[in-house]
C-alpha cells in the first residue's frame, strides 16, 4: 500500500519538474526565459545598425569575433522605445539553432519554478505577439510572464536572420 503511494508521489514529482528561468525587465513588467536557452548576458555596448534590416532588428554586435544580431525586444513586444541606461543588457540566447541577442531594460535573477506553478495565459487575442507568452506565474506577489523564445520570430523571420 505504502509502495503504491510512494510510486504515485514519484510520478507526480516527475511530472512536476523544476525549471530555471532567467528574469528580465521591460518597462515595469518582469519576463522570464528558459535558462537552457541563455548563453550569456552582456552589458550594453554599441550596436551597429544594419541598413535595410527588418524593423525588429536593432543591429549587430561583435562577440569575440562572431557577429550576433540584436533583436529590438521592446518593439517586438509592442512597447515604446526607451533610452539606454547602465542597467540595459543584451541577453545572448540560442533559439531555432541560431544565436541572437535580445535587448532588455535590465536582467534580474535566475528563478526556480515548478511546472505546476506555471499557468497558461488567457487565450484571447490573435495578434502574433500573443503567441510569445508561454505562461504566467505569481512570483513574490508580482506577475512573471514566461516567454517562448522560439516563437519570438516567425519561421520566415528566423530564416531572414540567418542571412546576417
Amino acid at each position: 500500500m505504502s509502495d503504491e503511494k510512494s510510486s504515485a508521489n514519484d510520478k507526480t514529482n516527475a511530472k512536476d519538474e523544476i525549471l530555471q528561468w532567467v528574469t528580465f525587465k521591460l518597462e515595469s513588467e518582469s519576463y522570464g526565459i528558459n535558462v537552457m536557452q541563455v548563453q550569456e548576458i552582456l552589458r550594453y555596448n554599441e550596436v551597429a545598425p544594419v541598413p535595410g534590416a527588418p524593423s525588429y532588428v536593432l543591429g549587430i554586435i561583435n562577440l569575440r569575433g562572431n557577429v550576433v544580431t540584436v533583436i529590438d525586444t521592446r518593439s517586438r513586444f509592442n512597447l515604446s522605445p526607451c533610452e539606454i541606461t547602465d542597467d540595459t543588457r543584451i541577453i545572448v540566447i540560442e533559439s531555432e539553432q541560431q544565436i541572437v541577442g535580445i535587448l532588455v531594460d535590465s536582467a534580474s535573477e535566475v528563478v526556480y519554478l515548478k511546472a505546476s506553478e506555471i499557468e497558461a495565459a488567457p487565450n484571447v487575442g490573435n495578434e502574433e505577439s500573443a503567441q510569445f507568452i508561454q505562461g504566467v506565474t505569481n512570483r513574490e506577489g508580482e506577475l512573471l510572464i514566461l516567454v517562448d523564445l522560439d516563437k519570438l520570430l516567425s519561421d520566415d523571420e528566423w530564416d531572414e536572420l540567418k542571412q546576417f
Partner: protein, 280 residues
C-alpha cells in the same frame, strides 16, 4: 474633469438610446402586425419565426423548446436520414454523391446552429433571477451605468497593479494578482463601447474596482459602485434574442441601463470576442 464627465454622460445617453431604439424598432414592427398581443406573446412569436428560419424541417413548437432531449433527438433523426441517403448514394452517380454530401453537411450545420440557439434561449430563460424578485448591483463606467445580478457576482476587489500582456486586444487590460488568484481584467468601457472610447474618454477613465464575473477569472473594471437594488420582473425589459448582444440579459427600465448576462459574457471573453465580433 467635470467637463469630461458631463460630456461622457451625454455620449452614454446617446449610446443607451441607440441600444433601446434598435430593440424598440423590432417591437414596433411586431406591434404593427398584431397590436393586441402582449410583449411575451410577440417575443415567443419572434423566437418561433427564428427557429422556423433556421430549419423548416425541425418543426419545433414552443413547448418543445423546454424539452431537455429535443435537440439530440433531432440530430439522431438527421443522422438516420443521413444513413438512408448514403445507402442510395451507392447506386447513384458520382455527381449526385457530392451534391448529397453537400446537402447533408448543410443540414448538419443548420442542426448544430438550431441546437445552439435552443441552448442559448433555454439558458437565458432558465436563470434563477428570471422568476420573482432579484437583486442587482449598479456600477458606473465612463458615464454608463451597468447592472449585474448579485447572484452572478463573484466579488468586488479594489484595483491593484494590473500587468498588461503583449498581443492581447485593447480591451484586455491585463492580469491582476489577488492573493493566489490571477484575475483577467477587462477594460469595461473598451469592451462595451469601443466606438465611444476616444482619447479624451480613455484619459478620463479612473477605474477603482474590479467586478468579478461569477466564479470565473474574469473581472470588469468599474469607476464607481452605485448601489444594490431589488428588482422585479416587470422592471426589466428582457432580451432573449440569441443572435444579437448575447451579453445583454435585458435593460433596467427606470435606470435605463444594461443588465449583464454574466454566463454569456464569460463565454464571449473566453473566446476572446470583443463586442464587434459579437455584432458581426
Amino acid at each position: 474633469m467635470a467637463k469630461a464627465l458631463s460630456a461622457s454622460k451625454k455620449v452614454m445617453k446617446t449610446y443607451l438610446s441607440e441600444l433601446l431604439t434598435d430593440d424598440l424598432c423590432n417591437q414596433a414592427n411586431e406591434n404593427h402586425e398584431s397590436p393586441s398581443k402582449t410583449t411575451s406573446i410577440s417575443e415567443n412569436k419572434r423566437l418561433e419565426v427564428l427557429l422556423k428560419n433556421v430549419n423548416a424541417e425541425l418543426k419545433i413548437a414552443p413547448a418543445e423548446v423546454g424539452m431537455q432531449n429535443s435537440a439530440p433527438q433531432i440530430i439522431k433523426q438527421k443522422a438516420k436520414q443521413g444513413t438512408q441517403n448514403s445507402h442510395l448514394i451507392e447506386v447513384s452517380s458520382e455527381a449526385r454523391l457530392s451534391s448529397n454530401e453537400d446537402t447533408l453537411t448543410t443540414q448538419k450545420s443548420t442542426d448544430i446552429l438550431a441546437t445552439k440557439i435552443i441552448k442559448i434561449i433555454k439558458r437565458k430563460t432558465e436563470k434563477t433571477y428570471r422568476q420573482g424578485d432579484f437583486q442587482v448591483l449598479f456600477f458606473n463606467v465612463g458615464g454608463l451605468t451597468v447592472a449585474v445580478p448579485l447572484i452572478e457576482l463573484g466579488g468586488i476587489h479594489a484595483v491593484d497593479k494590473i500587468t498588461p500582456l503583449m498581443g492581447k486586444p485593447e480591451w484586455f487590460k491585463g492580469v491582476m494578482l489577488h492573493r493566489e488568484n490571477k484575475i483577467n481584467v477587462v477594460d469595461t468601457a473598451l469592451w462595451v463601447m469601443p466606438e465611444k472610447c476616444d482619447t479624451i474618454m480613455k484619459e478620463s477613465l479612473n477605474y477603482q474596482y474590479i467586478i468579478m464575473l461569477s466564479d470565473s477569472a474574469w473581472g470588469l473594471t468599474a469607476e464607481s459602485l452605485v448601489d444594490t437594488v431589488t428588482l422585479n420582473q416587470e422592471q426589466v425589459k428582457w432580451l432573449d434574442s440569441p443572435s444579437k448582444r448575447p451579453w445583454l440579459a435585458g435593460l433596467v427600465k427606470d435606470k435605463m441601463c444594461a443588465l449583464l448576462d454574466v454566463d454569456s459574457l464569460i463565454e464571449l471573453l473566453n473566446e476572446g470576442s470583443g463586442i464587434y465580433q459579437v455584432d458581426s
